[in-house]
């Protein structure tokens, strides 16, 4: 016989007891390995979702609200043969079917050419002609259409000119297309095509890029390039830069024969700052700024209007006979004019009867965000009158403005600003017929810049003498000075980023291990406890082995190897069971817990390495639990033998325990009193700390009580006292039971209390809704101020409500609905004043003190960093950041935009976004068009009417609206689902704990058979013994649950006090009642079972 044979024989002999121990290992392995598999599977599924949404795309070249030539793709391929480039035109739209019955907003409308076949690896996209479209499967399902059916697609109007630029007509925001569904595209055929990091499938419509160009009145334009290459991003960047031409920046060269000049202008009306700066470096450059003014007037002596009069006339211009309505005014070089001087052409001078030295006024509109019009006026002295054939009297000096430049008559003008048609005289029509937009007045360039420079640019053109202009040099200068980023062009390794986002997304392994925390603890404790009981039944063997000369180490190794065998058997079974457990969890994730994943792409992925890791980890954990049991058992044996030798160390441990007891109780009570009576603001974290410390302290107090009970004078003996004294027979067992129940109750009650009820105070401004009624988003931007009374009348809005309009720069969804790790969430621009004292803040920068974080949103840090606010949940979980951290973006101008998180709101409707001020937003994204996001404030009793009116007025904008409370609930359904899972697994752990209690109970009763038999023999009624037994264990059960309950209530008191929480004593009471009933049934059942008649006989036999 060898030692190992001895161990095997021992294992086999005690197989039943050992298998019971293995149950604990099976559970811990199952939970642990299952959690790891869930993590792997979610990661794998997200990676797969990345491949499904990108196809063969590896890099993305992208611009927002501007367009480049499709040929750029061919040029890039020619520049580097290892790059495949596919141009697409990606726009947003609304899809409607069934005569408006089915409507889907926020649809991606993707113009593709035959190159897209390579990206999608599907021929479905090869022959989309005219009005033929391919749509994603989910869209087909939502619209209830199939191949051959017709649908209406309303597409956001793309414009080469920024939609909010001055004098651009905003009438047409969308274009409609009646299309035939040629194909329904599955995910394998790139039906889930999306450039955003999200597992949620987008709604897609594919059509020919040429058709889409025609619809937008473009020719050969694209806004994205899908790159497929193995090369590094820097090489792709280089190729893109090599192929970037002035045309891609929207620059146009005009040969102005009448003045023998070459003019560089832009399709975007205003030349962007970086471009004009570059152009000014060419020899002979003369920048021009032309503007459309409302009135040119001549001031007669004494005719200066009073300020009051001006105010009255502020919005509508009462043009008098001495004024000229609606004219272009252009700039000339500063050397010709002082800043207060003006030149008129002879037509204008005649019309005004003006002569040099007269005072001339210009009235014009400054066009602010959301087309907010501000009346402005400047005064000049007429320096000179120039003839109509002068070189400046040139209609090409003004930029091309669609709706204005191409109008046949003045009355057909569509300028994007209000025009008083009555003010237009016949002679003005005649001027338009004869001279079109030829400027009637000229001011110095500096004065023009002072009056009309705007966020879209400073100049409308730059002119050069024709003989000195060298196109080659112009192209070279462009290549040298302008980078893709200067045009807001981003070049990203999108596939790599997608995989990174998937791999670093929500860690479901960690989440499930965390949520299974108690079940893990319970199973580990159960393993340790059962093994200890196992050892105790063999305590005589330990003594014998010691007497036979086995070293303590050898004896320990016997038990540890036995434990290893048990762990291994349990581990293997646990790994097998974990496969079923994972399948089970995934089934629930795809149904009951769908809120936390929001995708049906989840697939179970089993990696052998994960199973192995799960097995090894659980082996280590179980072995650790077992070794603790063995060591404690051996130590106890040694202590039994050498009672006196340990008296000193016991004194020390007693001292430490007492110190910890008093310290934890004192600190917890002190914090509690301070928070309740003296703190200005309740701090949930401190309450949780108080609860935790109290739990620790009360458990130590319980242990101390057990010791006291044991050493107490035993002069008086009563049945009840007997039960209490029995508790001290095995103090560690009694304490284990109490710890298990206290911890379990603490976790379950505190988790249950933290469930949020976000409907509770939804109307309060400080709540997560900000006190707003509705949250709305549109597919097409709204370019005007909805609060403007005149605009409301125009649109037919009569209900009384206020709207906060927010601008938006698209980014990834950073809400908890997205499982990927996001680095650049969508940015919102808001007027911070409108959010003053709304919402609440969970965290804020120390420097802010108690000031309202919204108030400082308009400021900037010294280094140009912009303050930003986000939902704390987004900051912590979506971004993995904290308040004070900085987020980096590339703004529209190609510069790095640094956003410093200055505060995190408590759960709010802003989940998923980063909020900055409108002022800072427009500085960085000057050409962004209108508002896409709306917060509606009104009287709750009118909410239905307001909702209906808005839905009907903005229907064609793709208006999607929901009540703010509902939106909040949707977000926090994720949090609440997590808490539910935690609660469910916690309850499972408690049941496991109860089983542990039952095993201890059964074991103890077995050990006490003799004692029970003696009691029966001396005349105790079975009923009395039964009560003694149940009293003992009910005491432990109640003590554990009470300690756990009280401390959990203290820990989550803010949740109980908050009307925002779902915490109610009834919910918690039900949970606690279930725990108690469960424990009670086990205790009573087992005690009754063990006290049946046989006990006496069996016990006496033992005696």
């Amino acid at each position: 016989m060898t030692r190992f044979q001895y161990i095997l024989k021992t294992f086999a002999h005690y197989i039943k007891a050992n298998l019971l121990v293995a149950v604990g290992v099976v559970i811990s392995t199952m939970v642990l390995t299952g959690s790891l598999i869930i993590g792997d599977s979610v990661r794998y599924s997200l990676e797969q979702a990345t491949f499904y949404r990108l196809g063969e795309t590896t890099h993305l070249v992208s611009v927002t609200e501007r367009y480049f030539r499709q040929e750029m793709a061919d040029e890039i391929e020619a520049d580097n043969r290892e790059i495949k480039a596919t141009p697409i035109l990606l726009l947003e739209g609304i899809a409607v079917s069934g005569g408006g019955q089915q409507r889907v907003n926020k649809v991606q409308v993707i113009g593709v050419n035959s190159d897209f076949v390579e990206i999608a690896k599907s021929n479905l996209f090869a022959k989309l002609e005219n009005n033929e479209i391919a749509i994603s499967k989910n869209l087909a399902e939502r619209l209830q259409v199939s191949e051959g059916d017709n649908i209406l697609v309303r597409i956001k109007k793309a414009s080469l000119i920024p939609m909010n630029a001055p004098f651009v007509s905003a009438e047409e925001t969308s274009v409609s297309l009646r299309a035939t569904v040629k194909n329904v595209v599955s995910k394998k055929e790139l039906g889930r095509f999306s450039l955003k990091n999200s597992q949620t499938a987008p709604y897609n419509i594919f059509l020919s890029i040429e058709r889409l160009n025609r619809l937008m009145e473009f020719k050969g334009k694209a806004n994205k390039l899908l790159i497929s290459t193995q090369l590094d991003n820097s090489i792709v960047e280089k190729s893109v830069k090599n192929c970037l031409t002035p045309e891609d920046a929207g620059l146009v060269i005009n040969d102005i024969e009448s003045t023998n000049e070459i003019e560089i202008s832009t399709e975007r009306v205003f030349l962007e700052d970086k471009i004009s700066k570059a152009l000014k470096k060419l020899p002979g450059a003369e920048p021009i700024l032309s503007y459309f003014v409302n009135e040119i007037g001549r001031l007669k002596v004494g005719s200066r209007k009073s300020e009051a009069e001006k105010k009255v006339q502020s919005s509508k211009f009462k043009v008098q006979s001495t004024t000229i309505p609606y004219s272009f005014v252009s700039s000339v070089e500063d050397r010709f004019l002082a800043e207060n001087e003006i030149i008129l052409n002879s037509w204008a001078a005649d019309d005004l009867n003006a002569k040099p030295g007269d005072k001339i006024t210009l009235k014009y509109l400054e066009i602010g965000p959301l087309r907010k019009l501000v009346d402005k006026e400047s005064e000049f002295i007429l320096k000179e009158v120039i003839p109509m054939d002068s070189r400046w009297s040139d209609p090409t000096r003004v930029p091309h403005l669609p709706g204005l430049s191409d109008a046949g008559h003045c009355r057909e003008w569509d300028t994007g600003v209000p025009i008083d048609l009555d003010a237009i005289r016949d002679k003005d029509e005649k001027y338009w017929d004869d001279y079109k937009g030829t400027p009637k007045a000229f001011v110095s360039l500096n004065k023009a810049l002072e009056m009309w420079a705007n966020r879209f640019g400073n100049y409308t053109a730059v002119r050069f003498p024709a003989d000195s202009f060298d196109k080659e040099k112009y192209n070279q200068l462009f290549a040298l000075e302008i980078n893709p980023a200067d045009l807001g062009m981003t070049i990203e390794p999108i596939r790599k980023q997608g995989i990174h986002a998937a791999q670093n997304g929500t860690d479901f392994s960690g989440l499930f291990i965390g949520m299974s925390f108690f079940i893990l603890i319970a199973s580990i404790v159960l393993t340790s406890l059962l093994f200890r009981l196992n050892l105790e039944t063999r305590s005589a063997q330990v003594g014998l082995l010691s007497a036979l000369g086995f070293q303590q180490k050898q004896v320990r190794s016997f038990y540890l190897i036995e434990g290893l065998i048990i762990s291994f058997v349990g581990g293997i079974i646990g790994v097998i069971v974990s496969l079923f457990y994972t399948q089970f969890v995934f089934k629930i994730l795809n149904s009951l817990w769908f809120d936390i994943v929001r995708t049906n792409v989840l697939e179970v992925k089993i990696l052998p390495i994960t199973l192995f890791a799960g097995l090894i980890i659980s082996l280590i954990v179980s072995l650790l639990a077992i070794s603790v049991s063995v060591r404690r058992f051996q130590n106890r044996k040694a202590i039994d033998l050498q009672n006196t030798l340990h008296s000193n160390s016991r004194k020390w441990s007693k001292l430490i325990r007492n110190s910890l007891l008093y310290l934890s109780l004192t600190i917890s009570i002190a914090i509690f009193i301070k928070q309740i009576f003296f703190a200005e603001q309740i701090n949930p974290a401190l309450f949780f700390l108080t609860g935790g410390l109290l739990l620790f302290g009360l458990l130590l107090l319980f242990q101390k009580t057990l010791v006291k009970l044991e050493s107490h004078e035993k002069s008086e003996i009563r049945l009840g006292k007997l039960a209490m004294l029995n508790l001290t027979r095995n103090k560690s067992r009694s304490l284990t039971v109490v710890i298990l129940f206290a911890l379990g109750t603490f976790l379950v009650v505190s988790t249950g209390s933290n469930k949020l009820d976000l409907f509770a105070n939804a109307q309060e401004k400080s709540s997560g809704t900000g006190g707003f009624l509705f949250f709305a988003e549109t597919t097409m931007p709204v370019l005007f101020d909805i609060n403007n009374r005149e605009k409301r009348d125009e649109e037919g809005i009569y209900e009384n409500f206020e709207v906060v309009q927010l601008r938006k720069i698209e980014g990834d969804d950073a809400s908890c609905l997205n499982l990927n790790r996001i680095s650049q969430p969508a940015i919102l621009g808001v007027d911070p004043g409108k959010l003053h004292e709304r919402f609440s803040f969970a965290v804020r920068l120390k420097e802010l003190g108690k000031s309202d974080p919204w108030q400082v949103l308009n400021d900037k840090f010294d280094d140009g960093t912009i303050p930003a606010i986000a939902d704390q949940t987004v900051i912590q979980w979506g971004l993995g950041k904290k308040v004070g951290d900085i987020l980096f973006y590339q703004n529209e101008l190609g510069d790095t935009l640094r956003l410093k998180l200055i505060a995190g709101t408590t759960p709010s409707i802003f989940q998923g976004f980063i909020i900055i001020s409108n002022k800072n937003f427009l500085e960085n994204y000057p050409t962004s068009s209108g508002a896409n996001l709306f917060l509606i404030d009104g009287k709750p009793e009118n909410s239905n009417k307001i909702g209906e009116e808005l839905q009907s007025v903005f229907r064609d904008y793709g208006w999607e609206m929901e009540s703010t409370a509902k939106r909040l609930v949707e977000f926090y359904s994720v949090t609440n689902t997590y808490l539910s899972i935690f609660l469910a697994l916690g309850a499972l752990g408690l049941i496991l704990g109860t089983i542990g209690l039952a095993v201890i109970l059964a074991r103890t009763i077995l050990e006490r058979r003799r004692e029970i038999a003696v009691m029966q023999a001396v005349g105790f009624a079975t009923q009395s013994i039964f009560f003694i037994l149940i009293k003992e264990y009910l005491f432990l059960l109640f003590a554990g649950v009470l300690i756990g309950f009280v401390t959990a209530v203290v820990a989550t008191l803010p949740a109980f006090l908050s009307s925002n929480s779902d915490a109610s004593f009834s919910t918690v009471a039900i949970v606690v009642a279930l725990i108690l009933v469960n424990g009670f049934l086990w205790i009573v059942g087992l005690s009754w079972f063990s006290l049946r008649k046989k006990t006496l006989v069996a016990g006496l036999k033992v005696l």
């Binding site: 016989m1 030692r3 036979l548 086995f550």
Partner: protein
């Protein structure tokens, strides 16, 4: 001289407090090689405590235990375990056989602390002893399949397997009927004589005590 106990004191509870209970007081004892000694005394007089000290299962509060000229009270736990294995054999009132092992394996168990296998010589010795005590037929049986007498004889063989110099027996016949008790007493004496092994037994049995060379009475913590 095989064993010498010098001024041995031992008590239980916390020394210096009212809970402290002295059991052995300044006890002295000398046992020669091959001697057979019975220790008798009333219950609670400290017989088992004395046996535990002699068997290096417990340590005295003061005094020395000298075995074959060596003071074992200073031994480490590891040395004590080796000492027990090499020099001592234990027989208890209850046989304490391993229920998971059969007779043959129970007998060989004390050989395992020395190495992970059993030599041919050791097996022959075990076979000789088992035959000698008359339980060879039961060698493959487990304790649950044997009678009390057979189990106790197995325990005797287990105590002899390492050829100890000293056998310590704590009420070896206490759990046996009269007939089996007499047979076991005879066997112990005979084996002690045959193998020249010193035998110290704690017993209430006057029959067994009478067969010993010396009979010592433990009273008030001292041998008289």
């Amino acid at each position: 001289m095989l064993l010498q106990l010098k001024n041995i004191s031992k008590g239980y509870g916390e020394f210096g407090t009212h809970s402290f209970r002295p059991v052995l007081k300044e006890l002295n004892l000398e046992i020669g090689k091959g001697e057979k000694i019975a220790i008798i005394g009333p219950s609670g007089s400290g017989k088992t405590t004395l046996l535990n000290l002699v068997g290096a299962l417990d340590l005295p509060d003061s005094g020395e235990v000298i075995f074959d000229g060596k003071n074992i009270t200073g031994y480490s736990k590891r040395e004590l375990a080796t000492f027990r294995n090499q020099h001592l054999g234990f027989i208890f009132q209850l046989h304490h056989l391993m229920p998971q092992l059969n007779l043959w394996e129970n007998v060989l168990l004390p050989l395992l602390p020395q190495g992970n296998s059993v030599s041919k010589g050791q097996k022959e010795w075990a076979e000789y002893l088992i035959n000698k005590v008359g339980i060879w037929e039961q060698r493959n049986q487990k304790p649950s399949e044997m009678s009390g007498g057979e189990c106790q004889r197995t325990a005797v063989v287990r105590a002899l397997i390492n050829r100890p110099q000293l056998i310590l027996a704590d009420e070896p016949t206490g759990a046996l009927d009269e007939e089996n008790a007499a047979a076991l007493s005879e066997l112990l004496i005979q084996l002690s004589d045959d193998e020249n092994i010193t035998l110290v037994t704690v017993t209430h049995s006057s029959e067994l005590a009478e067969q010993m060379d010396k009979k010592l009475i433990l009273r008030n913590g001292k041998l008289v």
